[in-house]
């Protein structure tokens, strides 16, 4: 056996070597003698090329592939020569003049090459769809502008020789076919700047992929391209319509969340947004849908708090309809869990019923059965369900444990048609004390700022009404500052606000100011008021006291009765944690001099920052500044009737720093040997 092995190895080498260095013969359509001639010519030409350009682009075995013999009859563009200069002969748009110019230019450098150039027929394709471009010489990724020459785009068919002469280089130097193939058709573009006029050089080459696993022969034509869609014809129209005719290509419709489906009824618990079910249907309340008119089939989602309001056009004489009856909204049985096997039916627990008279007075009655009835004599329909409020108690397992409701029944006459019905539903977890937050933890845009006072040695004291904790002046139609008492607007997070009123200053207003002063703030500085009244003869003191009165009144109008001293950093800051609250910084421009200064504007600036992770940032208030600007009122001002514009504003400023990357700390390995590890020996 041993003497045979060298022969076998030689034999293997003999077999493998040609297939590595040559393309398989199935690619060539020329006979051997012709191929050899062409190959010789090509090698000599390539030597010229590499000498002329100073660069050898490919190893010698690769350059052997540059010969025209590889081009197939299917693509006449490549047969024109391996090295060409200027406009693409494969391009159907190139004119004969272009070709002549090209020949001229390249004739100077490489005369033998252009012998093979010829005007080529453009194959016309009569197809309904544009055929995909598979010829690499007509592919151009940098051709971005239509009918324009893109700068430094050497494959742009619109560019002319004069354009190429001013190019600094080629942005795309090589266009290659699929990189998995062993032999890749490719076009090399370059600018020959060594000549007097820089010219574009185009080379059609075959790049040999050295990979053993490259695809030598690909017989599956649609392999490396997208599938051409079918053209609809008379024969295949029905099948195409069946496949693509629907609203979506996915035939399996997701019915898991749809209301009343079997999937919804087999769930073991309610999830957020799932329709609350009744034994035969689902819990529904009237709601406006598109128009103001009530639609009766609006499902109520679990944990989705809603305020529904809609109007109903009814005939007053026929008001005993179900939509107006209390029983429709009261006698509802609800499944505590969607799964009907283990369902416990829950009836609605009516806590209160209020009767509303025709003129709007409300009277609570004992809950019971009320049926709307029309009184012929008075033309009034009584006991019409006007509003309802539901409170759903749920457990943390997603089961509904209780529903309480309160209703308002009203009397209506024909002048009140269309009547308006409003329903409200809220959800509260069982055993949890519910308190509304302005965010958890960060503030949510549109919710009121949490604010309060701080007394020494105590936590923050807040008003129970969260819409009354931080307020500013509210504009009214009268624009009279002295009439604005108690008319306040809640400061909502993220909402910049501007409001104002007008203070009419005149000597005649002094008395009114005094009265207003007394009524508005009876607790502050009664001495000044007393002094102003005690010395009516002294002009200075009178003016001064008037000024003081005006200043105090305006300040009261701007700041309200109780201006808080602290604002919560987060929407859920607890009053016990004083460190979670920021004090409101007070900046005043007043100069307590003899002249009269009156505050004219209050600017509340809330600086907030995004806090926490980049994915889910939380709004955190870092600083609140209250700036009160004063204006000097000249002495002669009091005599004339002057208007003073008072403004209040709230602005929210995002002062977030750029996000910093944060990484978890590397875990440290705390590996210690026990102290008696070497016990028997040491």
């Amino acid at each position: 056996m041993a003497p045979v092995m060298p022969w076998f190895i030689f034999f293997l080498v003999w077999c493998v070597a040609p297939s590595l260095t040559e393309t398989p013969h199935n690619d060539t359509h020329l006979d051997v003698t012709e191929a050899e001639e062409w190959e010789d010519a090509a090698i000599s030409l390539l030597n010229e090329t590499s000498l002329a350009e100073g660069t050898a682009l490919y190893p010698p075995n690769t350059e052997r592939q540059h010969t025209p013999l590889y081009s197939t009859t299917a693509d006449p563009g490549i047969t024109t020569g391996n090295t060409r200069e200027l406009p693409d002969q494969g391009d159907p748009l190139s004119t004969p003049a272009d070709t002549q110019g090209t020949s001229k230019v390249s004739a100077v450098t490489r005369p033998p090459l252009l012998v093979k150039d010829s005007g080529l027929p453009v194959q016309s394709r009569a197809a309904a769809l544009p055929s995909p471009i598979t010829n690499v010489s007509s592919l151009c990724v940098c051709d971005l502008l239509v009918e324009r020459c893109d700068v430094n785009c050497c494959c742009d068919p619109v560019c002319t020789a004069s354009d190429f002469s001013v190019f600094s280089g080629c942005s795309v130097t090589v266009v290659t076919s699929n990189s998995r193939l062993c032999v890749q058709d490719s076009v090399l573009y370059s600018i020959n700047s060594s000549s007097a006029i820089p010219q574009r050089v185009v080379q059609n080459v075959k790049i040999i992929n050295p990979d053993v696993f490259c695809v030598q022969t690909a017989n599956y034509q649609p392999a490396f391209s997208f599938i051409t869609p079918d053209i609809a014809t008379q024969n295949n129209f029905d099948s195409l319509l069946k496949e693509f005719g629907g609203l979506s290509f996915n035939t399996a419709i997701n019915t898991a969340n749809s209301v009343g489906s079997t999937a919804a009824r087999t769930a073991s618990r309610y999830t957020y947004g799932a329709a609350i079910l009744t034994p035969d249907s689902f819990f529904k309340l009237p709601a406006s849908l598109g128009t103001n008119t009530c639609t009766d089939s609006n499902p109520i989602g679990f944990l989705v708090s809603q305020d529904l309001k809609c109007s109903r056009n009814i005939a007053i004489s026929n008001c005993s309809v179900g939509a107006l009856a209390l029983g429709t909204y009261k006698d509802i049985v609800i499944l505590s869990v969607p799964n009907s096997q283990s369902a416990v039916n829950i009836t609605i627990n009516v806590t209160s019923i209020t009767l509303q008279s025709i003129n709007g007075t409300l009277t609570p009655v004992i809950p019971g059965e009320f049926i709307p009835s029309f009184d012929e004599a008075t033309q009034i329909c009584k006991f019409v369900a006007l509003s309802g409020s539901y409170l759903v108690t749920y457990s943390d397992q997603g089961t509904i444990t209780n529903i309480t409701a309160s209703f308002t029944l009203g009397a209506i006459n024909s002048s009140m048609v269309p009547i308006q019905q409003s329903f409200k539903i809220r959800f509260t977890e069982e055993g949890k004390n519910t308190s509304s937050l302005s965010g958890n933890p960060g503030y949510i845009v549109g919710l009121p700022l949490v604010a309060g006072f701080k007394l020494p040695q105590s936590g923050i004291i807040q008003s129970t009404n969260r819409f009354n904790q931080l307020t500013i002046l509210k504009s009214s139609t009268t624009q009279d500052c002295l009439a604005e008492d108690g008319n306040r607007a809640t400061v909502l997070f993220g909402h910049n606000m501007l409001s104002g009123c007008t203070l009419r200053l005149s000597s005649a207003v002094s008395h009114r100011l005094t009265l207003s002063r007394r009524s508005v703030s009876p607790d502050s500085s009664p001495q000044k008021t007393a002094r102003a009244q005690s010395c009516p003869g002294s002009r200075y003191s009178m003016l001064n006291s008037t000024c003081q009165l005006a200043a105090d009144v305006v300040l009261n109008v701007l700041r309200g009765q109780q201006f808080p001293g602290y604002v919560a950093m987060f929407g859920n800051s607890q009053p016990e944690n004083v460190l979670d609250w920021v004090p409101i910084t007070y900046i005043s421009t007043t100069q307590r001099a003899v002249s009269c200064y009156i505050p004219v504007s209050l600017a509340l600036e809330v600086r907030w920052t995004k806090y926490g992770s980049f994915i889910n940032p939380q709004a955190k208030i870092v600083n609140v500044t209250q700036t009160i600007s004063h204006v000097l009122i000249p002495e002669h001002f009091y005599g004339s009737k002057k208007l003073l514009q008072i403004t209040a504003s709230v602005s929210f400023v995002d002062v977030s720093a750029p996000a910093q990357p944060g990484y978890k700390a590397q875990p440290t390995l705390d590996a210690k040997l026990p102290f008696d590890f070497f016990y028997p020996f040491v």
Partner: protein
């Protein structure tokens, strides 16, 4: 069969070399036309080729199986094509094993029929090799090389098998 005959003759002559009668007998045997002493007719190069081809065949199918795994993962394949090619590969393996077994046996036993069947089986095997060389969905360069080698094996084996067949036909068999 012929080996046994050959050995028995040899022993016969050896044990009775010094016996005159037997010497005459053996010379008489050899002198009779059609009953002259004959050598080994089996072809040693053919046997070597079959041996190498057996090892090559095993590695070829192992590599092809891995290549199909690779191609199936990497390249877009219509399922029907992939199934067809894998089934053809299994068929090819069966043909190749049968062919080698029969060829080897026919050559060693100097029997014509197994060798003829082996040569006949070379035709479908060669066609399958050509399929994997040229016509399959994607032919990798590695596959091209492997198929070329196996085709060279086939060519040499066919030539040597035919030569061996001619030898067998020329020599009479007992």
């Amino acid at each position: 069969m012929s080996n046994y005959i050959y050995i028995s003759i040899n022993e016969h002559t050896h044990t009775h070399t010094h016996t005159h009668i037997h010497f005459i007998w053996s010379s008489f045997l050899l002198s009779v036309p059609g009953r002259r002493r004959r050598g080994v007719l089996s072809s040693t190069p053919l046997e070597i080729l079959f041996f190498l081809n057996g090892w090559y065949c095993a590695s070829y199918f192992l590599i092809e199986a891995l290549i199909f795994l690779y191609k199936g993962l990497i390249l877009p394949y219509p399922t029907s094509n992939l199934v067809l090619e894998v089934v053809l590969l299994a068929l090819y393996l069966g043909i190749e094993v049968t062919r080698l077994f029969l060829g080897c046996r026919g050559n060693l036993c100097e029997r014509r029929l197994p060798l003829v069947v082996s040569v006949g089986l070379t035709i479908p095997a060669g066609l399958l090799a050509l399929y994997y060389l040229l016509l399959q969905t994607y032919a990798l360069r590695l596959e091209t090389v492997l198929s070329c080698i196996i085709l060279v094996f086939y060519g040499l084996e066919v030539i040597l098998s035919i030569a061996a067949l001619i030898t067998f036909c020329r020599e009479p068999s007992y």
